[in-house]
Symmetry: C2
């Protein structure tokens, strides 16, 4: 994991993350760690080899999903709660996760939007391609994803970050999802100018380079194999420049 | 709103909740308020009269969903973040929402499960009946809901509450959703004994009587009008006794 910012990196030897880079949820935690300058043990789990179904993994997470995070006796399996836990417990900064209840609630609300709206729409578009022999993004899913782009474009109108003037964990989690959805349904610069501007700003952050780019490219290559030529040409990971 | 427990009720005149009783998300907040012994201004929004699309409501929440919560300049529209905000800011008790980062993260994770898994499955079952002339719960949705019951039954194995030995806001939010799903797909006592036991214990809480029962009955009556006789006979709101 890369080093971000000028603060010395905190190394938490008692914490471990099991992850797969191509998963947006895993990349949200990896970006969160780098943004907070926290180093923990990371274990790659090869989903293609069904390692997420291994006995020791299932013992920690019966739902067989990634990421899985462990801090001594505490096990967490939701990327949002992993990031907020790390910020609340180990990060001495009030910006990524405000400590005042109002600021925290606004971040929480966006994390819940990512969990309850964006992630299900991403999965509804990607899963038929990855697991059900579908060779294109279904029209209903394109509509749903573009509705989300419209929501986010509205939220970002007149403000640099999703909650206002400061980047928070909400930007990080949502960037992981949207950058992946962008491979399936490219964000239209003209229709969603605020969203594209925000995506580009996010892509310039060093934690994005160190913790999102590699897995994103892996996902693009993988999904490209399943799609036909015409549709795979849409897998063009470009921000406005 | 009823009074719960022996502590004097805190009245927050600067806070308002716009809600519809038949919505599980609204009932989650109403139960949260009663469980925390907090009284705020409550405004009923008649969805049948499209009051949720009124100009003043849309100005607060462009997504036109309920609940909407306002505390001076702060507006929140997600039931989970409303409850955690109220607990963190106004409730002098560490039980419903633990203050230590680990305990809070475990509650957060279950709230995210409610938002990302249970609520979408509830909507996928209810919306075709309420809005698309469907007259039964679709088989795929029954399967998904029963998978959720199985998940919850596993989590509740050997513990009285979802996070362990204390009832938290996670129990309250999930009770609002599951009690409503139970009308569509009744929880089988034999298949899910831990879940039924927990549902019964929740139904005995005074905040459940004051803030969940009425809206739940309203939902049952409403959904009953759309269903045929055979299926409506399943709308049997019974816990094990």
């Amino acid at each position: 994991m890369g080093k971000v910012g000028s603060k010395p990196m905190a190394t938490l030897k008692h914490c471990t993350l099991w992850k797969a880079d191509r998963s947006p949820s895993c990349r949200a935690v990896m970006m969160g760690l780098d943004a907070m300058n926290i180093s923990i043990t990371e274990v790659d789990v090869d989903i293609d080899k069904a390692e997420h179904r291994a006995q020791d993994i299932v013992a920690m997470n019966p739902f067989q999903t990634l990421p899985i995070f462990k801090d001594r006796e505490l096990i967490l399996t939701d990327s949002h709660s992993i990031n907020t836990y790390l910020a609340a417990r180990y990060h001495n900064c009030n910006k990524l996760l405000p400590r005042d209840p109002g600021g925290r609630a606004v971040v929480d609300q966006l994390l819940l939007y990512n969990c309850g709206v964006l992630q299900p729409r991403y999965r509804a578009a990607a899963d038929p391609i990855l697991y059900e022999n579908c060779r294109f993004v279904l029209p209903d899913q394109i509509y749903e994803i573009e509705s989300s782009y419209s929501d986010l474009d509205g939220i970002l109108s007149g403000r640099p970050w999703l909650t206002g003037s400061l980047m928070t964990l909400a930007d990080i989690s949502i960037a992981a999802t949207v950058s992946t959805m962008n491979i399936l349904v490219p964000v239209d610069k003209k229709k969603f100018p605020n969203l594209i501007r925000w995506m580009y700003t996010m892509s310039e952050e060093s934690f994005y380079s160190t913790a999102n780019d590699k897995g994103l490219e892996e996902f693009a290559r993988r999904i490209g194999k399943f799609l036909n030529v015409e549709t795979s040409s849409k897998i063009c990971y470009e921000f406005v420049k």
